[in-house]
C-alpha cells in the first residue's frame, strides 16, 4: 500500500507539469492583455508599455514559462500582476477559508445525503422514499446563487438571525455551508439510494437475510458497505467541486476564498495567480482522488491496488 501511495505521488509530477504547461498555453490563448488591463482605462500607449515592461511581459513566452517554473521549484511563484503582492500570500490568505467552508459543507452534505439515501432505499416506495428523493430533486435543481439569496433574505434581512456576509464567527458558516452542502447532499443521496438498491438485490445480502441476521445489521453491515463504492466516487468528486467551485457562494457571501480569487485573476488576466492556483487545484484533486482510491480498498478488499 505504501508502494501504491508512493507510485501515485510520483505520478503527481507529470500531472502537475502537464497542468502547468496546458494552463500556461491556455491562458495566453485567451484574448486580453494584462498590461492594458492593469494600466486601466484612459492609460496612454506609453503607460501601457511601461506596465508591460514592469511585469516582464515584453519577454518571449518561452522565456516567461521557464522563468516562472524555475522559480516555482524554489517556492517563489512570483508577484500578482494586479496587486503586486506575492502570489503565495494572495493564495495563502484565501486557501484556508475555502477549505474550512468546503469541509463544513461536505459534513453537512454527507450527513444529509447518506441518511436520506439509505432511508429511501430501505423504505423503498414509501412516503419516506418519496420525501427524501423529492428533497434531493429540489436540492439538485436549485442554483446555488438562488438558494443563497433566498436564505440571506430570510435569515439576515427579515429575521436578523445571521450576518449577511463575512466569515468571522460560526454564524457566518451557516448559510454558505447549507447552500453548498444541499447541492452535494442531493447528489450523494441519489447515488446512495441507487447503489443500496442494487446491493440489496445481490446474493450475499439475501444470504445474510436468509441466515436470519437482524435487518438493520444486514442493511448497514452488508448492504451499505458494498454500496459505498459509487457513493465514495461521487463524494470525492463533489468535494473536489466544493474546493474549486465555490465561486458563486463566495461571491454572494463575500467569502474571501480561492474560488473568487480565480475569477478575479482570470478577469484581470493575472497570469502568475492563475498558473499557481491551477497547480493548487490539480494538487488538491489528485490528492482527493488518491484518498478515494485508498478508501475503495478499505471498503472492498476485493479491489486490489494493482
Amino acid at each position: 500500500m505504501l508502494r501504491f501511495i508512493g507510485k501515485r505521488l510520483v505520478q503527481l509530477i507529470p500531472t502537475l507539469l502537464g497542468v502547468s504547461l496546458v494552463i500556461f498555453l491556455f491562458v495566453r490563448m485567451i484574448p486580453g492583455d494584462p498590461a492594458r488591463l492593469i494600466a486601466g482605462m484612459g492609460a496612454t500607449a506609453q503607460d501601457i508599455a511601461l506596465v508591460r515592461e514592469d511585469l516582464g511581459l515584453d519577454r518571449p513566452a518561452v522565456q516567461q514559462y521557464f522563468s516562472y517554473m524555475g522559480k516555482a521549484f524554489t517556492g517563489d511563484f512570483g508577484k500578482s500582476m494586479r496587486t503586486r503582492l506575492p502570489v503565495t500570500q494572495e493564495i495563502g490568505t484565501r486557501f484556508m477559508p475555502t477549505v474550512k467552508l468546503a469541509v463544513v459543507s461536505m459534513i453537512v452534505a454527507i450527513a444529509l445525503g447518506l441518511l436520506a439515501g439509505v432511508v429511501a432505499a430501505i423504505k423503498r416506495n414509501s412516503w419516506l422514499d418519496y420525501l427524501s428523493m423529492t428533497g434531493a430533486l429540489i436540492g439538485v435543481s436549485m442554483p446555488s446563487f438562488w438558494l443563497a439569496l433566498m436564505l440571506m433574505y430570510l435569515f439576515a434581512v427579515k429575521w436578523h438571525l445571521l450576518p449577511t456576509f463575512g466569515s468571522d464567527s460560526w454564524k457566518s458558516y451557516v448559510m454558505p455551508a447549507v447552500t453548498l452542502g444541499v447541492g452535494a447532499a442531493a447528489s450523494i443521496a441519489r447515488f446512495t439510494r441507487a447503489a443500496m438498491l442494487e446491493v440489496l438485490g445481490q446474493d450475499f445480502v439475501r444470504t445474510a437475510r436468509a441466515k436470519g441476521l437482524q435487518e438493520s445489521r444486514v442493511n448497514l453491515r452488508h448492504a451499505l458497505r458494498n454500496a459505498l463504492i459509487p457513493v465514495l466516487t461521487i463524494t470525492g468528486l463533489q468535494f473536489g467541486f466544493l474546493l474549486g467551485g465555490t465561486v458563486v457562494v463566495e461571491s454572494v457571501f463575500a467569502w474571501n476564498g480561492i474560488g473568487r480569487l480565480l475569477v478575479d485573476a482570470v478577469e484581470a488576466r493575472d497570469y502568475p495567480v492563475i498558473q499557481t492556483l491551477m497547480l493548487v487545484f490539480s494538487l488538491q484533486f489528485v490528492l482527493i482522488n488518491l484518498v478515494v482510491d485508498l478508501l475503495y480498498g478499505l471498503i472492498d478488499p476485493r479491489i486490489s491496488y494493482e
Binding site: P31, A39, M41, T44, D47, V157, A268
Partner: protein, 525 residues
C-alpha cells in the same frame, strides 16, 4: 478614468448596534432605543478589492476613493467637480500655459510627522513625473520638465509644451502629495502600506480581499473638515444583491452603485436612504466611421433618430439618468448645451437609412457583459430593428472587450458599433473629448474606437490645449461641441445618475460626478 469600476460603501455594525441576532427576541426593542451607543466605525463595503494604495500607480475609482481618505493633492474637486484648493491655498498659470505656480498652505504635517512644504511637494511630483519609475499615472505629469521652489511654500512647475488643462491634472486623484520618506520607499511598499499622506484618515491595516481599515487623524490640519468617525472599514462584496441585503439588514450603511430597480424599491424603506446625483459620465454608441455604412452621415443621423432615449432612461434605467444634450455631460468643465435630447423619428430614420445606402447587412454591437449593459443593448437592438436596421448584441468580458477594441489599429479593428461610456477624471473638457474623438487617439494610441478623424475637430482640440485662459478655452470648446453634435460620430444616448444607498442615519459621504466616493465627511446622525 472610466466609471466602470463600481464603488460600494457601507458600514458594519460590529455588534455595537444590533449585535446580529445575539439578543433574544424579548430584548429586541431595547436595541433600537436611541440610547444605544452611537456607531463610531463606518465599515465601508466596496464592489471589489482595492487594487493599489499608491495614488501615483492607481487607475481605478475604487482605489482612488480609499486613497482620498489618506492622501491629499495641491488642488481637488468639490461636489460639483469644480477645482478647489487643498494643500495649495492659491495658484496661477502663465498665459502660455507652460508655467503653473502653487502657494502652499502652512502648518500641514504628514502622518509620518514630516512637514508638508515645497521640497516635499517637489520630491513627490518628481516621482510620478519620471518615466523610469514606471508608475501608471506618469502620463498625467510627464509634461513637467522641472520644478522650482523659490521659497518653502511656493512651487513652480515648468511644462515641456503648452497644456491648458494642466490644473485639472493636478486636481486628478493621482495628483497626490506623498511624504518624502514614502517616496524613498519602493513601489511595492507604497502599494500596500500607505502611511505617507496628510488626509483626515490614517492607514491602519489591509488584508487583501477581506478588509481595509483607516482611522481618524487626530492632528488633521483642517479642524472644520476633521473626521467625524473613529474609523472606516472597507469590505469588498462582489454581488450586488448581497450589498443591497446588507444595507437592508443594517450590516451596511453605504452602497454604490444601487441598481435602478432596487433604488426604486428602497425608496419605500424607512431604514434606508436612496441618494441620486448627476454624473459626468457620457453614455454613447460609437460608430466605426471608416466602415460602411457608418461612413455616411445620413446613416449616423438615422441611428440617432432611431433611438427612443426616454424609453431607455425611464424604462430600463428606472428614471436614474439625465438626457444627453452635448458630447459633454452638463457638470463637465466648459459644457455648452447643444439642444434638447434627440427625439425619436422612425419615418425620418427609415428615409435617411435609404438615402444613406444602407443595404440591410447585420451589424454587431460590442459591449461589456454587465447586466445593465446587456439590457440596454437588447433595447437598442429592438429599437434599431423597428427602423429596419439589423443589429446584434455581442457581450464580452472586460479583458476580451478591451483587447478587441483598443489594441487593434484601423485596418485590423473589427469593431462596428461599440456601446460604452466615459467620464473624465480630470473633470475638464479636454480629457472628455480628446481620448475619444481626436484623430490621433485612434487605437492603439487612444480610445477613439470609431476612428473618427475630422480635421476641424482635431484643430479645435489642439487649440484648446494651447492656452490656460478660461475665456479662450470656453469659446474653443463651445465650437468643438457644436461641430461634434452636428457630425454625429456617436449615437448620443444619456448621462446616467450616480445612485447610492445609505442607512437612514448616515450623512456626509457623497459620490462625485466622476464616480469616486468622498468618504471623508461620513458620520452618523
Amino acid at each position: 478614468m472610466k466609471l466602470t469600476t463600481r464603488v460600494a460603501a457601507g458600514a458594519l455594525a460590529i455588534g455595537l448596534l444590533t449585535g446580529c441576532g445575539s439578543p433574544a427576541p424579548s430584548n429586541a426593542p431595547q436595541t433600537s432605543q436611541p440610547s444605544a451607543p452611537k456607531k463610531t466605525t463606518a465599515a465601508v463595503a466596496t464592489a471589489g478589492d482595492v487594487v493599489s494604495l499608491d495614488p501615483h500607480d492607481t487607475n481605478d475609482n475604487l482605489s482612488y476613493g480609499v486613497e482620498n481618505t489618506i492622501y491629499e493633492g495641491l488642488v481637488g474637486f468639490d461636489k460639483e467637480m469644480k477645482v478647489i484648493g487643498v494643500l495649495a491655498e492659491k495658484w496661477e498659470a502663465s498665459d502660455d500655459a507652460k508655467t503653473f505656480t502653487f502657494h502652499l498652505r502652512k502648518g500641514v504635517k504628514f502622518h509620518t510627522g514630516e512637514d508638508m512644504n515645497a521640497a516635499a511637494v517637489k520630491k513627490s511630483f518628481l516621482r510620478v513625473a519620471d518615466p523610469a519609475n514606471k508608475l501608471k499615472r506618469n502620463s498625467l505629469f510627464n509634461t513637467i520638465t522641472s520644478i522650482d521652489t523659490p521659497d518653502d511654500y511656493t512651487v513652480v512647475f515648468h511644462l515641456k509644451e503648452a497644456f491648458g488643462a494642466m490644473l485639472y491634472n493636478f486636481a486628478h486623484p493621482a495628483g497626490k502629495v506623498i511624504a518624502p520618506s514614502g517616496v524613498d520607499k519602493g513601489k511595492d511598499e507604497m502599494a500596500k502600506n500607505p502611511k505617507y499622506g496628510t488626509g483626515p484618515f490614517m492607514f491602519k491595516e489591509w488584508t487583501a480581499n477581506d478588509h481595509l481599515t483607516v482611522v481618524k487623524n487626530p492632528n488633521y490640519w483642517n479642524k472644520d473638515a476633521a473626521a467625524k468617525v473613529e474609523s472606516i472599514n472597507f469590505k469588498p462584496i462582489a454581488e450586488s444583491g448581497t450589498r443591497v441585503n446588507g444595507l437592508k439588514a443594517g450590516d451596511l450603511d453605504f452602497v454604490l452603485p444601487l441598481p435602478g430597480v432596487d433604488a426604486q424599491a428602497l425608496q419605500k424603506d424607512a431604514k434606508v436612504k436612496v441618494n441620486v446625483a448627476p454624473s459626468i459620465y457620457s453614455f454613447y454608441m460609437a460608430m466605426n466611421v471608416t466602415k460602411k455604412p457608418f461612413d455616411n452621415i445620413k446613416v449616423r443621423e438615422a441611428l440617432n433618430l432611431a433611438i427612443d432615449r426616454e424609453a431607455l432612461r425611464k424604462g430600463v434605467l428606472r428614471g436614474f439618468a439625465d438626457p444627453m444634450t452635448s458630447v459633454l455631460a452638463p457638470n463637465t468643465g466648459f459644457y455648452v448645451k447643444q439642444g434638447d435630447e434627440i427625439k425619436r423619428d422612425v419615418a425620418k430614420a427609415k428615409q435617411l437609412l435609404q438615402e444613406g445606402g444602407y443595404t440591410g447587412t447585420e451589424v454587431e454591437i460590442w459591449h461589456s457583459n454587465a447586466t445593465e449593459r446587456k439590457d440596454i443593448a437588447a433595447a437598442i437592438v429592438q429599437q434599431l430593428a423597428e427602423v429596419g436596421f439589423k443589429a446584434k448584441s455581442v457581450p464580452m468580458d472586460n479583458a476580451t472587450l478591451s483587447s478587441n477594441l483598443w489594441t487593434q489599429d484601423k485596418d485590423n479593428n473589427k469593431v462596428q458599433l461599440y456601446l460604452g461610456g466615459w467620464s473624465t477624471s480630470t473633470g475638464d473638457a479636454d480629457w472628455a473629448i480628446r481620448p475619444l474623438l481626436y484623430g490621433q487617439s485612434a487605437p492603439p494610441n487612444g480610445y477613439n474606437v470609431g476612428f473618427y478623424n475630422n480635421p476641424k475637430v482635431n484643430q479645435l482640440i489642439e487649440d484648446g490645449l494651447k492656452t490656460a485662459d478660461a475665456t479662450k478655452r470656453a469659446s474653443i470648446y463651445a465650437d468643438l461641441q457644436k461641430e461634434i453634435w452636428q457630425d454625429k460620430p456617436w449615437v448620443f444616448l444619456y448621462i446616467p445618475n450616480n445612485v447610492w444607498g445609505t442607512g437612514a442615519n448616515v450623512e456626509g459621504a457623497f459620490v462625485q460626478g466622476d464616480g469616486i466616493v468622498n468618504y471623508n465627511g461620513i458620520y452618523f446622525k
